[in-house]
């Protein structure tokens, strides 16, 4: 009874602290971002008008400026924007003429599948490779895996994507050249297999790079675990290395790996931006680039905040898992029950 209450209290406290930090963070990021975009020399009216510039008179430019609220001083604009944000209104995108949240929502769903697939692949493969490398320290296998990881860490994501595109899509024709499903079909007509087919190369691109960090990290932890007391004890009792790894070290190695995966959501998002550009995949990453290049300030700000929340969620999950699984915590509560 007491144990449950204390658990509730600790969880509530944990959540409250996290929420407070999130709000503070959002406020800071929002303010900084707004200051940054306001000091940009890019003229949003110019960016909006684009190719129609010869048809737009100075009078019309004023009308456009008024429409986007650009004729007000920056402080007033910030006040309005912050106020609207607090009520969940992120403004209207100048590129899409749609509420920013709606634009982000639609495209995030598309990116989500890409990121989820890449995240799972890189997590599973990276973990596996790290275990192998750690278990077979200093062998040829270990060194090859390490070389691969180091090389991948120095390779730009978009270049890997381009190489894969050239080999598998252009030369061999095994995978499509672009897009989220075969062009010409509507969203409903595209089957799951077709969507996966289009997801394949972008996801592999992201995974190939994402593996590096987790492989190296897992390898370190595996080596550490194999040098620990309980491993030496097990070995003395005749257990093979593989046995030790899979029966005893796994839990200790898995935890840091999982937390690392959750903490790497930021890198994942960044990688998705690049991969979507190479494969013309219509997700949130591509939209970010468009917003930046075409000077869509409401959308850009919206994406900055959204991605901040995204990263925060990742770190939060990592923290949560750590707290939940940490044996010290268990022991403390176990003693009370």
């Amino acid at each position: 009874m007491i144990f449950r209450n204390i658990m509730h209290l600790m969880i509530t406290q944990f959540l409250l602290v996290k929420t407070f930090r999130l709000i503070l963070l959002i406020a800071a990021v929002a303010t900084l971002s707004f200051v940054l975009v306001s000091s940009s020399p890019v003229d949003p009216v110019d960016a909006y008008v684009g190719a129609a510039m010869l048809r737009i008179s100075p009078d019309q430019r004023e009308v456009i400026a008024k429409r986007w609220g650009l004729d007000r001083p920056p402080v007033e604009r910030f006040g309005r924007w912050a106020g609207q944000m607090a009520t969940g209104n992120f403004g209207v995108s100048t590129i899409f003429n749609e509420p920013v949240l709606s634009v982000i929502g639609k495209r995030f769903i598309t990116s989500f599948w890409l990121m989820a697939l890449a995240w799972s692949l890189s997590g599973a493969l990276g973990f596996g490779l790290g275990l192998i490398a750690g278990a077979r320290e200093d062998t040829l296998l270990d060194r090859s895996i390490r070389l691969y990881a180091y090389t991948m860490a120095s390779t730009p994501t978009f270049w890997v994507g381009m190489i894969l595109l050239m080999i598998f899509s252009v030369s061999l024709g095994w995978t499509p050249v672009c897009c989220a499903w075969p062009p010409g079909l509507s969203a409903e007509q595209a089957t799951l297999w077709q969507r996966l087919h289009h997801l394949l190369l972008p996801a592999i691109t992201l995974s190939l790079i994402g593996i590096a960090q987790i492989t190296l990290h897992t390898r370190e932890k595996t080596i550490e675990a194999l040098r620990s007391d309980y491993s030496i004890f097990a070995r003395a009792q005749g257990e093979s290395t593989i046995g030790i790894v899979f029966r005893r070290a796994l839990r200790n190695v898995a935890l840091p790996a999982v937390t690392l995966q959750f903490a790497s959501l930021g890198e994942l998002f960044g990688g998705a931006v690049l991969a979507e550009q190479v494969f013309a995949y219509p997700g949130l990453g591509r939209t970010t680039v468009e917003a930046g290049i075409r000077g869509d300030i409401p959308l850009l700000l919206g994406i900055v905040l959204f991605s901040t929340i995204f990263v925060f969620t990742g770190n939060f999950m990592a923290d949560l898992i750590y707290h939940l699984v940490d044996p010290r915590l268990r022991k403390a509560t176990g003693a009370i029950s």
């Binding site: 510039m53 008179s57 009308v63 456009i64 749609e98 989220a180 062009p183 297999w193 394949l200 219509p282």
Partner: protein, 533 residues
């Protein structure tokens, strides 16, 4: 967890995925209607709301306009049956045809027309109706468009502004554009494609092709799709038009999409615009230099070399349009004449370095072009080569578009491109402008005679009566904007717009297209037919 088991568990599904995706080549079966698939360029991310500018580039497809241009660019009626300019050229009285309905069945009346014009004027999009005072519907079929000042080019809005239903229009209209045009939007998968079907309630001749799919993709993917036989109409830039695509023929459309060199017309006296841009160039402000450049250039060679033959020489901003003055043509590729002009004006090569001088300054200037545009880069390089033999040193330099717009546009020779269906462009390019002209008349060209013709043209009582005045502004026998006159620009080439079309598709006679290819080819899409059985 066994790594081996895991790898098998992952590899097998992956193989299945690849295998199943490989039979994605779907051939159209006999009983489904033949869908026309087009890839024509950039997606209209803002949506399809005419009050924000959709269709101002030619034709709004889902909505109808009061007037339209036929294949020869003559203005003919569409929704409007009568249109008269009166009241001191300040009011258009337009009668619209009866019994027109929107695709949802509701009737289109003069009130919708008035609403469309009034809303577009205030909407802050890329359609400029700042000259509209008020649009009023005086009955169900008559609307009066009142202007603030006379402007014959206002008729362009009657040609391009699609009419929206007052009762259904609102902020989300752009994504559900109900209109009275030949086609209606069925679905739009943003970032990928748009599916469009014929509107059964259309008042005109119903299109024979019932279903259209517009795809949005990169040029790479577009060509790959065309090679795979999945696209029926593909717009490509001319440097990619040389390849062979099985089942498709090359369809070349003439255009007024031009490229030329803009000259700063005034000397550099240290003057700046209110925004701080430097004005003037001491070399190009000399008319002899400008004329020499015009005569020295071999425009046909530019077409052959830089455009791969897909184009024709340009001598003015409005070549071959109804308001083009044929008298401005001259024989170019004449370096001897260019040299003579320079000699006579006092530009001589006194130090033997191949570059002429006069009053201590060298016949030297930079030609700026937007780096992202390899066509303009090619033109700049080629022109530079053509000018060297006559003693002018023109140095090509790539710059960011933003830098050109915000710093350099009034003081340097720049490769610009224009070309539209409205003579308003001529007015904007050549009429003297205020102290901050931006891209209109960036060279600060001033000629009161030309100004007069242009102003008179705006005030003309009808579009046809304005045409002789537009022509006079180019050359009236004594002066003008063209090379025989002030040589304010060195127009170089008019591009051809190149499209690959399915061999079994007849697209009729294409209009001469404006600047920027792609969408304009759909101007007569309701007349397209499949020809194979």
């Amino acid at each position: 967890m066994n790594v081996r088991h895991f790898l098998i568990g992952v590899a097998l599904p992956l193989l299945l995925v690849i295998a199943s995706g490989c039979d994605r080549q779907q051939k159209v079966s006999a009983d489904t209607p033949k869908t026309l698939t087009l890839i024509l360029g950039e997606e209209n991310t803002e949506g399809f709301d005419p009050t924000l500018g959709w269709g101002s580039y030619g034709n709004p497809l889902f909505q109808s306009t009061l007037l339209k241009r036929d294949a020869d660019l003559k203005i003919v009626s569409d929704l409007a049956t009568k249109w008269e300019l009166g009241d001191g050229q300040l009011a258009w009285t337009v009668k619209i045809r009866p019994e027109v309905v929107f695709s949802d069945g509701s009737p289109l009346t003069a009130r919708d027309v008035a609403y469309t014009f009034n809303t577009a004027a205030k909407a802050g999009g890329v359609v400029d109706l700042s000259n509209l005072q008020l649009a009023e519907a005086i009955d169900d079929s008559t609307v009066i468009l009142r202007l603030k000042h006379p402007d014959i080019t206002f008729i362009q809005h009657l040609i391009t502004l699609g009419i929206v239903p007052e009762k259904l229009h609102g902020p989300g209209y752009g994504r559900k554009p109900i209109g009275s045009g030949p086609y209606k939007l069925v679905r739009w998968d943003e970032g990928q494609q748009m599916i469009v079907e014929a509107n059964d309630r259309y008042y005109g001749i119903k299109p024979s092709i019932k279903r259209l799919v517009f795809l949005f993709s990169t040029e790479n993917a577009a060509i790959a799709a065309a090679m795979a036989g999945k696209v029926d109409v593909l717009g490509v830039s001319s440097n990619l038009a040389g390849q062979k695509i099985p089942g498709m023929t090359l369809h070349v459309v003439k255009s007024v999409d031009n490229r030329g060199l803009m000259f700063p017309m005034v000397p550099d006296t240290g003057r700046k615009t209110p925004r701080g841009l430097a004005i003037g160039n001491n070399v190009t402000s000399d008319i002899a230099i400008r004329k020499a450049v015009n005569y020295a250039i071999n425009r046909q060679a530019l077409v052959d070399g830089v455009l791969d033959g897909h184009g024709r020489p340009a001598f003015g901003a409005v070549d071959d349009l109804p308001w083009d003055n044929p008298e401005i043509r001259f024989k170019d590729n004449d370096p001897e004449k260019a040299k003579a002009i320079l000699e006579e004006a006092g530009w001589r090569d006194s130090d033997g370095d191949g570059v002429r001088e006069k009053d201590g300054k060298k016949a030297e200037f930079e030609i700026l072009y937007n780096t992202k545009d390899s066509l303009r880069q090619g033109l700049a390089l080629a022109v530079s080569d053509m000018l060297r033999p006559v003693g002018i040193k023109a140095v090509p330099r790539g710059e960011n578009w933003d830098r050109i717009k915000d710093e350099l546009t009034h003081a340097f020779v720049i490769v610009y491109g224009f070309g539209g269906h409205s003579p308003l462009e001529m007015y904007k390019l050549y009429h003297s402008n205020g102290p901050e002209p931006m891209y209109w008349n960036a060279g600060f060209y001033v000629n009161p005679v030309v100004d007069n013709y242009l102003d008179q043209a705006l005030r003309a009582p009808s579009f046809d009566e304005a045409i002789p005045l537009w022509k006079k502004a180019q050359w009236d026998g004594k002066t003008g904007i063209s090379t025989p006159g002030d040589a304010s620009w060195a127009w170089l080439v008019n591009l051809d717009h190149t499209y690959f079309i399915n061999q079994c598709l007849d697209v009729g006679k294409s209009q001469m297209e404006p600047h920027g290819h792609g969408w304009p080819i759909t101007a007569n899409i309701d007349q397209w037919q499949w020809t194979c059985k």
